[in-house]
């Protein structure tokens, strides 16, 4: 029997009777990170990396949750578990499971690039590697993020010179903080939408960020003008945006590598910046584990698995409910 199996509720370890990132309520859930498709409501007890504890509480309300340090081993019914940095967002982990000498690693989501806020990805040797493959196509090859952050600051400064406000959009957990961390506060003030502000507040206890100011009913257009506003992409086209006055819109996502996606998003400026591993990142991560078996769970799973098989791995695909087939889904949050 495999150490981890794929069931209708999620990835299941029968020996320990625990689930990894289950999509239904279960007794005991080990959670890789705080994004809503991995951390779902309804389980009796959650175990996660300690930075992710306040994130989970913020997202899921009053839950029973215990936190572990990275690399700290804990045993459940003879199975040794541990969380290891996945570099995806603050508090994100790969989950390692070992039983009778057999080692499995489930990645959740990860990236191999350093983002300045998450603990950097560490390869974990294993026999079977359950990997995401959101950007498992060779067209995805990220450029140096430092250059992207430079582009963003230049864009902000140029907008400011035209007395235009910069509305910079990204995922509330991870992307917004990554953007914020690298903004140049000497250009101007940084305002936030509620969703961006609250998650950032949760993470301020772990990470130093530039100052932000929440936009409230009393905030005037004049105050915002020429400054930068961080918000989730869902605000695009809403009444909330109209109240900001004249804005230049920017959106940061790995999907922006596609011209079609850039044009469909209808933003003024697209930045290619992702919290997932690109093609080469995925391949190097797999190689570094020294694994024999690979299971691809979400993204371009079949294409990626087929390629891995050709390269000598024993790779297959398992259906999960982690969402990433399209950029649209990622935006639904």
């Amino acid at each position: 029997m495999p150490l981890l199996e794929f069931t209708s509720k999620g990835i299941y370890c029968k020996q320990a009777d625990v689930y990894l990132d289950p999509w239904r309520g279960v007794d005991k859930a080990l959670v890789s990170h705080g994004h809503s498709d991995h951390a779902r409501w309804g389980s009796q007890h959650y175990i996660t990396q300690e930075i992710n504890v306040p994130v989970l509480k913020h997202r899921l309300g009053s839950i029973s949750v215990s936190g572990k340090k990275y690399n700290e081993t804990f045993t459940i019914n003879g199975v040794q578990f541990s969380f290891h940095p996945a570099g995806h967002v603050p508090g994100s982990s790969q989950i390692r499971a070992e039983h009778k000498g057999e080692i499995w690693v489930f990645t959740g989501d990860y990236k191999t690039q350093s983002d300045g806020i998450s603990t950097e990805f560490e390869p974990v040797p294993c026999h079977t590697f359950i990997t995401e493959s959101t950007f498992g196509l060779p067209v995805f090859q990220w450029e140096n993020p430092r250059q992207v952050h430079e582009q963003i600051n230049q864009w902000w400064a140029a907008n400011q010179a035209e007395k235009t406000t910069s509305l910079l959009m990204g995922y509330s957990l991870g992307k917004v903080q990554r953007l914020l961390k690298h903004l140049d506060p000497s250009i101007g003030k940084i305002f936030t939408h509620g969703a961006s502000e609250h998650m950032t507040q949760v993470l301020r206890q772990f990470i130093d960020f530039p100052e932000t100011e929440l936009i409230t009913r009393d905030t005037t257009k004049k105050q915002i003008e020429g400054n930068l506003v961080l918000a989730p992409p869902a605000v695009l086209g809403s009444a909330w945006v109209k109240k900001l006055g004249v804005v230049a819109t920017g959106y940061a996502s790995g999907w922006m590598a596609f011209r079609g996606a850039r044009r469909r998003r209808a933003v003024d400026r697209a930045f290619v910046l992702s919290d997932h591993a690109d093609w080469k990142g995925l391949l190097s991560a797999i190689k570094a584990t020294g694994c024999e078996n690979v299971i691809t769970t979400h993204g371009y799973t079949e294409i990626f698995a087929q390629y891995l098989n050709e390269q000598g791995w024993n790779a297959k695909t398992q259906k999960t409910q982690y969402e990433s087939e399209t950029e649209e889904k990622a935006l639904a949050e």
């Binding site: 196509l137 596609f258 079609g260 996606a261 399209t326």
Partner: protein, 528 residues
Amino acid sequence: MRRFAALIETLDATNKTNKKVEALSLYFQNTPKKDALWAVALLSHRRPSRPVTTTLMRTWAAELAALPEWLFEETYHIVGDLAETIALLIQKEGSGAPPSLSLCIENIIALKPKTEQEKKDYILNQWQNLNHFERFVFNKILTGGFRIGVSQKLMTRALSKAVAIDETILAHRLMGQWSPQTTTFDQLILHPNPEDQISQPYPFFLAHPVEDPFFNKENPQKWHVEHKWDGMRAQLILRKGKHFLWSRGEELITDKFPELEVLKNKLPEGTVIDGELIPFNENIIGNFQELQKRIGRKTVSQKLLKDIPIVLMAYDLLELDGLDLRPLPLSERQEKLTKLCQENCSPNLPLLQSKIYHFSDWEAVRAEREKADEKRSEGLMIKNKEAPYGVGRKKGSWWKWKSDPKNIDAVLTYAMRGHGRRTNLYTDYTFALWHKGALVTFAKAYSGLTDAEIKKLDQFIKQNTLDRFGPVRQVKPALVFEIAFEGIAPSSRHKSGIAVRFPRISRWRHDKKLEDANSLDDLKKLLP
């Protein structure tokens, strides 16, 4: 090349028309004329002929990126655009300065007769020396098809700003077949010599669909009404002993319709007629499918000429005795057209004049529209009697009032990924009708759903895929859509035996079950 690629990137990044015009106009002002002329050519869909097949480009790109060909193909299907796929896969940032746009295109033209190895060397070299967006633009020039949200009209407006020449004059100068290889910016745009331009067509004037308030606002006596013929819009030019026939896409189609040559000797020189090419056999107007057979053939055989004779249904006169009549009111142009036809036409000539109707109330117009099927038209045209002949799609004086579409409820059976803006979404659909207990494909449709519906349908397709064939997914038959279409005719080329014109989705029939969809027999009942 660097400047042109930067221009395309700027145009690509904004939805605002003013910004596009501004960027284009700046480009035209600050670019050497030779390059600017090529830019005008590319943006008006005039491109050098393709020196290599896309198959070769795919093979070379896969090789350069060290990918198995199947992976390259899968990737290409997902990206949806070959030029972009290659640009993304070959991740090199060129260091040297790229050649100028005109030099780059001259190189591409010179490539055509060379050996495959020489072509490969050149293209691989370019791929590795250009930066990402330049590589994309270079591939677009190689493969053709610049769809970047810049219409010819927009480009003309920007050019007009840059060279300070009236937009309509420029639109005329840019018409017809020209190439930067044989003309210059000065000759074509700034100081054209009329003697060189005997083949040059006038820009076509286009109609808008009529809007409801029109009928309440307008007095029918100010308007003239004619049937809207379902053929191919064309402009016939007779100048200096020669004749030229142009399609609305500015293609010279003189050779495809040799039967019109006789008009050269029957009508006076210096005549330009705007009209519709339609199949016309033994006094019966044919359907669009027949015309398509004529358009589709490379060479026109005697048999085809006999089976599907074509006539020009004339409805406007743009030039007479070498004089541009476009500023005259429509009623005067019509008088001259009628006189021209009466004086020169005999029953056997391939020239008809579209009948003009005058009505005193809109109800009578509506009644005439009901006769569209009987008259073999696709509805009515309503034109302002006082209006001059305009340029392009300008609102106000020409309206089209098409017949109501026909409808049928069909089942979604296949879906394909979209292109361009819709890459990564399933937006191209195939629909089927019941026939003897099975579903038979009858039409493809691309438009008609809202963005929200497209997203929802995309999710359904991804979760209900039965099989995959490259970019196409076979979908579990479950959803019913109302498909609207204009014309319908028997066809031997279609599996269903029926061809419909302009099929599109009119609504998602959430209320209908799979078995409630219509049958092929229901569709056949709609045949005229």
